[in-house]
């Protein structure tokens, strides 16, 4: 396998982008990544998107997006793994470059979610769960994560306030990210007083509906060095799956797929979790971040709530988690999220993260998750 580097990144402002279509959002972002890399050719592109069919009534993104990017007849693939589609696209692009199959690969992620009503979006997102045995009974994604929260609170004494603190921390970080959908601070009281979606999760415990895209350019590390680019390598890639239905898990307060993907990625990189300087993780709901910090081994099982309360995961804490603002404040255009996490880590490792820069960051980790943890992808990045 060849060493793989990221030589270009692209992301535009996320939010409710009513005036822009999926193809426009994607192409704007892809052009930023291409210009940042300074490449004039692409050998291949891989795009993560969860559900353009349900959100905008359009499939066959491979043709649409390569066409509007002006890159036909470039080979293009679209991959889907629910909310971890972006992370999966990154892994497929990584494998393609590492294997020697392609040299310069564009990895993108995109989702256009505001062309449908809130109820329709809730339905579309719900298709990441078991439609016949969870969705049929009226279950929603917030409901599934709420049941994980109830199980975690019962088992470990995690509190509603600790859940709220995850959102408060991520908004604090997001207030320093000009591309975030919600670049402002919130308080614990505001979270607890916001409307309940599925008890105990309030609306401010939930990541929002977002339009957005993100893109990176990958190439062999040797080629990147010759191009005199700041070289950030992808040194670890881990991927694991778990049952589609939450009810089939042995422990509903534990994310086994994230645990396994994290172990694989760290072993491949030859790193320990304590060696990583910052983490971009999948806080689709506040309880998710708490459970992810446990599954990745940042804290002991059951200590995730205490960790956020004690500031361990704050921007200036021992383990900065979600310096970008996370899914909560930055936004969560589902297929784009996994790629945007990589964009943030590269910015941090290049020292280009502005006010939210983690000082001297050399190694970063992304964790992207589909469904209630039915899929997890973890990547490790290191600056040369």
């Amino acid at each position: 396998m060849r060493d793989v580097a990221v030589i270009g990144i692209g992301m535009t402002k996320w939010g409710e982008l009513w005036e822009k279509s999926l193809r426009t959002i994607f192409v704007e972002t892809a052009l930023l990544a291409i210009d940042d890399a300074g490449v004039d050719r692409l050998d291949s592109m891989v795009v993560g998107c969860m559900s353009s069919g349900l959100f905008i009534g359009q499939e066959h993104l491979t043709s649409l997006l390569s066409d509007y990017l002006g890159k036909n007849p470039v080979p293009a693939a679209r991959v889907e793994s629910a909310c971890s589609s972006g992370g999966l696209a990154l892994r497929q692009g990584f494998i393609e470059v590492a294997s020697g199959m392609s040299d310069i690969v564009l990895v993108g992620g995109v989702e256009k979610m505001t062309d449908v009503t809130g109820c329709e979006a809730t339905y579309a997102l719900g298709t990441a769960a078991d439609q016949e045995y969870e969705g049929y009974h009226g279950l929603t994604f917030p409901a599934l994560y709420a049941m994980m929260a109830v199980a975690h609170m019962h088992k470990y004494g995690t509190t509603r306030e600790q859940l709220a603190m995850v959102a408060v921390k991520n908004h604090e970080n997001g207030s320093k990210n000009p591309l975030a959908q919600f670049p402002f601070k919130i308080s614990v009281e505001a979270v607890l007083q916001s409307v309940l979606v599925a008890d105990p999760l309030h609306i401010l415990d939930c990541s929002p509906i977002t339009d957005g895209a993100a893109a990176v350019i990958l190439c062999p590390a040797d080629m990147a060095k010759k191009m005199k680019k700041p070289v950030v390598r992808i040194t670890g890639s881990g991927h694991a799956t778990d049952t589609i239905a939450l009810s089939s898990r042995k422990d509903m307060a534990w994310l086994e797929s994230t645990h396994l993907a994290g172990q694989k990625a760290l072993a491949m990189a030859g790193q320990k979790i304590g060696d990583i300087d910052l983490f971009e993780v999948h806080d689709c709901f506040t309880i998710a971040e708490i459970m992810i910090t446990e599954a990745l081994g940042l804290v002991e099982q059951g200590r995730g709530g205490k960790a956020v309360e004690e500031g361990l995961t704050a921007l200036k804490g021992k383990f900065p988690v979600n310096p970008s603002g996370g899914l909560k404040a930055k936004g969560h255009p589902v297929g784009a999220t996994g790629v945007a996490q990589a964009v943030e880590v590269i910015k941090q490792l290049r020292g280009e993260a502005g006010e939210r820069q983690v000082k001297g960051a050399k190694r970063g980790l992304t964790q992207n998750m589909g469904g209630t943890g039915g899929s997890s992808l973890v990547h490790v990045f290191e600056a040369d």
Partner: protein, 130 residues
């Protein structure tokens, strides 16, 4: 509206709680599967789920998907049935105040939702306090 086949193919599970029991290790698969996730065996015999269980976790849904808009807020939970199978369903016939982990429930056959003004009525199982 999808073809009726999408609905009637699940009727043995939704109306009669039919499950598959692994002939090798005894794992009960609901819905039935072709491969046992526990031992890899591919032979199952038909069995019926236990009709009572204990709530492991629950929530109250206040923002529903569109088919359930007229029912919100409603409670849902995951119960471990007395045969060890875990099942997700609505919890009905009780106030939200009585919901708790460890609560005993029984499975009843109920209406799940209706589709449109003159549409199909969807049936299935729900939990009620035992």
């Amino acid at each position: 509206m999808p073809n009726p086949s999408k609905y009637w193919r699940e009727i043995p599970q939704r109306y009669r709680l039919e499950a598959g029991k692994c002939t090798k290790c005894g794992f009960i698969a609901f819905p039935p599967r072709l491969v046992c996730p526990q031992c890899g065996n591919r032979k199952f015999e038909k069995t019926k789920l236990a009709d009572s269980g204990t709530i492991l976790t629950f929530t109250i849904i206040r923002v529903p998907p569109h088919q359930f808009e007229d029912q919100a807020p409603y409670a849902v939970g995951i119960a471990e049935l007395d045969d060890g199978v875990r099942l997700t369903a609505q919890i009905v016939d009780c106030d939200s105040g009585v919901l708790k982990i460890g609560m005993r429930v029984r499975i009843e056959f109920r209406k799940i939702y209706e589709e449109g003004a003159a549409g199909v009525i969807y049936y299935g199982y729900k939990f009620v306090p035992a």
